[in-house]
Symmetry: C2
Subunit: 192 residues, 2 copies
Amino acid sequence: MGEFAKLPGIGRKTALRLVLHLLRQEREEALMLADAIRAVRTDIHYCRHCNNISDTDECEICSNPQRQHDTVCVVESIRDVMAIENTRQYQGVYHVLGGVISPMDGIGPDDLNIDRLEARVAAGGVKEVILALSTTMEGDTTNFYIYKRLAPYATPITTIARGVAVGDELEYADEVTLGRSLVNRIPFDRTL
Amino acid sequence: MGEFAKLPGIGRKTALRLVLHLLRQEREEALMLADAIRAVRTDIHYCRHCNNISDTDECEICSNPQRQHDTVCVVESIRDVMAIENTRQYQGVYHVLGGVISPMDGIGPDDLNIDRLEARVAAGGVKEVILALSTTMEGDTTNFYIYKRLAPYATPITTIARGVAVGDELEYADEVTLGRSLVNRIPFDRTL
């Protein structure tokens, strides 16, 4: 019960309920859960190209010949890969940093997966690096750090558009976002 | 009291409180409020260029020689003009439609200020029309209608960028917005 209660969002009462549920269940089902949990830690690998989670040492996206391997989208975490995949708008590959530069939390550039990003770009064959980090102070710092690190390779570096969310009304947008929406406006026929 | 209670967000109890407040106040202060309310309806004009509210028949923005009069931002309402002005990122002028095309509410193109927009563009001297309407069904319809109406004049038509709001994290953005953010990405050095 103590082990369950260590999980996020599970307190002592929920932990007790889970344990009692396992006891009521068929022995096999409980063992299946145990095996699944073991497998998460023993069978899951990180992709050697992009650091995404994977069953093997190359993830499904990196091993897919249909994807554009010359376009690399830099994200903070695996959850961002999932969010972008859900849009079905992106055909390129990823590079998962594993966080952002955050001196407050003691996370410097060396703690992130930036060396391997540089190596990918240095190896050639990357036509565009898309920075898709959060626009927090830490995200902006990391963007700028990567921009500087990759500058010698003259690879085009882009960033995702910031603006008023689709469906949102202008008057409820914050000023910074609305300002960026205007400054980075695009030809209307590109949206058709 | 009944007149107060007709105002939005003011019920019978608040109306009574306001009336009692006016009775307790100096006679002059109450009359000042009455005059101010009268002035709203008698002294406020709509700008003959852009339909913005104004003290005279030309609003402060249209009469300002510092503004770029060849860039026209099309918005739904005066509140959107205020929202964009608050960003301090826009130097052009406006065109207030007074609504969006909405068949459900019986609002067609003729009910909006579109003829005068076309006349402004037809008169020449407009280098860019920026569509800044809400991305609702009605906003999109109105955008497309204006795009078609202005097509003969070959004036560049742009639209504000849609994307993840500044400060927001990717994983909490809706899929459509995140998708547009990616598709309409911009060179990173333009954000510096």
